[in-house]
Symmetry: C2
Subunit: 417 residues, 2 copies
């Protein structure tokens, strides 16, 4: 894509009321736009990052045998009164002109449990797994963390339905592993720790995925050595003892909750009446699990972890483009070389952004490139041509060097490589 | 995909309160689920159809040079008060717990105009085109037409920004042609007519795309011969005269509005202050157009147009699968032949659903297949094997025939063909 026709322009300043690092950087780079506190539009470059993350999530969900659906935002109160969650303050509520209250979905356990009643009758219909990547709404009091805590935000929510606890347990472990893969693949695996959190009636613990960052709102107690962490909310002498841990092997850390998985048991199937007939013909409540992850929150977390004073530093797997090609100067040689290089890279199927702007200075182009954070920067200029080729610099390294065009394939492999 | 693990089951009956043909069929087939009047979840097969339609739309938007974004549902009243549209009854409104009213976006002209102020300053920044495929909310009094009129529904909305009317006019014609292509490609081109509708201050007419169907809520006056139609709302002697038409060459038709395009001019840029500096350095309001299309409404329209008493009849381009392979009977020969055929077709990249269920009768399998409406049905049974091969039947034809396996490639080409 040519930058001269790019929809957005970068900004020197973020809005004065925006305090979070991730939102300030992403707004300045033109990746997102702030509509209201905790409410952000995704502009073309931001949507590209989000879709890269979503694609990774979808691949891991397919590996779990989960099918994709899209549930609704507008929710019927009757469904939620059965579980006792209609009165929670988290709801945004609204009303029909012709009478009748509705809520805006902030999660979908009740909705998916209710609709499954049409599709499950026998043990032969189980197990089933369904997920969506869908916008959720939460009436948060605090919304000052940019993409880390939204009032409107994207969520991948997966629900699983089983006949036995053993089947749930086995699937839960597979889902945990799929989550690990997701965080690894988007580039935050090293900083992300499985963390024990509060469970519920059905299970003593749930599991969160917590990414270490000073921008986080959670406190966890981590043993790197034993690869285990405990959320502050359940951090007691008793919890430690049950896990065979002493307080001096745990360090207090600030972290961002990027995912959570939860054994629901019959918490929703019982009150909503989602039953199946077992092999003996007896009616049993379906056993459920739910598994959440926030693609936008992941994007914000990556911006917090991988950025510097000059801008964003995207890991290759989620970058909006792989290559940022800059044309500096307007001599015939520069224009011809850069244009030919752009066509060549694009033809190879590489995701390349070409800064072909004629009215932007070299300084503006370099500043925008650092702000965008595309992993590999190529510069064609009089200077690079005199030095024998194309200047190459990775965004996460400080040194640039000039290489002859013949060596480029080692850097620019294309999608097929 | 194997039908034995498919998330949904078909239903013999649609909900008693569902009156529209498209929703009754799609609910029975397990493509959608009714949450409330005008509010439908998309289940896996339905989401597949929707995504096929979205892919076609995205390709045509790319052809127009439009970039994709995702605006927000929650809308700030201040933005909409400037255009005077905050008081319309179409809004679903909601409120923050800590004070402050918000609306749920039912269109996005104001939102996109406001955010463009950060990205447009000079004539050099124009033209620009941006679109999204995003959920909209409308507080409709009537919501009895299934996917044809939702309170919550998907919409592709494209916005264009220009310096001159001529530039808008030229783009508007390109967009009109892209819309024609979309309706042609999804299979309703023959029944869909460009229809003049009310314009506004800036332009005498807007254009709707109206698909002839008794399920429609609009009345149009159509000349097939001259390939022109007029919406009832502007159908006057004066309109007819201005178009050189007489009433006896027009027939009254019932139709579904599947898309509309509109020259906005400065209707939103002026009150919201979206200005650019022209070549002389003078400040001018940006000239805009907007272009809407409903992917879910298209899906509902296709269900209305292409269905019979036995179920849905999807055009190939939007079908959830291309091939429905049915295994009838449990003899070794049938199982081996069907399983091998399934692997073979899937390996070729064809989108195949394999009814491998062991506990479903032949009658149930045939009934489900007709209900799903996948274009090509293949049956492997003792009967077909005795007759020399595989039974082949197209969903939109009545006759089936048995062909030897060697002739299958002519029917099952795979994605690469």
């Amino acid at each position: 894509m040519k930058q001269s026709s790019l929809f957005i322009k970068t900004r020197k300043q973020a809005p004065a009321d925006e305090v979070s690092k991730n939102a300030r950087l992403l707004i300045r780079a033109g990746f997102i736009h702030k509509e209201a506190a905790g409410v952000y539009s995704y502009l073309p470059l931001g949507l590209r990052v989000l879709e890269r993350i979503n694609t990774i999530i979808r691949e891991e969900m397919a590996g779990l045998g989960a099918e994709e659906a899209a549930f609704t935002t507008l929710q019927n109160p009757e469904t939620w009164k059965k579980s006792g969650r209609w009165e929670l303050p988290v709801w945004f509520k609204t009303a029909l002109n012709d009478g009748g209250e509705l809520g805006l979905g902030w999660t979908h356990e009740e909705a998916v449990t209710a609709l499954m009643k049409n599709h499950v009758s026998s043990y032969k219909d189980l197990p089933r797994k369904i997920f969506q990547i869908h916008t959720k709404f939460r009436n948060e009091e605090r919304a000052k963390s940019g993409l880390l805590r939204g009032r409107e935000f994207l969520m991948k929510d997966l629900y699983s339905f089983h006949t036995t606890e053993e089947d749930l347990d086995a699937f839960y472990e597979k889902a945990k592993e799929a989550y690990r893969q997701i965080f690894e693949r988007v580039g935050i695996g090293g900083e992300t720790h499985v963390t024990l959190s509060s469970g519920g009636d059905f299970s003593p613990y749930s599991h969160e995925f917590q990414t270490l960052s000073p921008a986080g709102e959670d406190t966890i107690y981590l043993s790197r050595e034993k690869n285990i962490a405990i959320n502050q909310e359940i951090y007691t002498e008793k919890t430690r003892a049950s896990l065979g841990l002493s307080s001096d092997e745990l360090t207090e850390e600030t972290a961002i909750e990027v995912g959570n998985i939860f054994k629901l048991g019959t918490r929703f199937s019982a009150p909503l009446g989602l039953m199946y007939k077992d092999a003996k013909g007896e009616s049993q409540p379906v056993i459920m699990g739910s598994y959440g992850i926030g693609p936008g929150r992941i994007m914000g977390t990556i911006a917090e972890l991988f950025s510097d004073e000059r801008g964003l530093v995207w890991p290759e797997a989620v970058a909006p483009f792989s290559v940022h090609l800059l044309r500096i100067g307007n001599t015939d040689a520069v224009i011809e070389t850069a244009d030919a290089l752009y066509r060549h890279i694009a033809e190879k199927g590489e995701r390349v952004l070409f800064d072909d702007r004629e009215d932007a200075s070299a300084g503006e182009k370099f500043a925008d490139s650092d702000l965008f954070g595309i992993p590999l920067r190529l510069v064609v200029s009089e200077k690079s041509l005199s030095a024998g080729g194309i200047e190459v610099k990775k965004r996460n390294e400080n040194e640039s060097r000039v290489i002859p065009e013949s060596e480029l394939p080692a850097f620019v492999k294309g999608e097929s490589a």
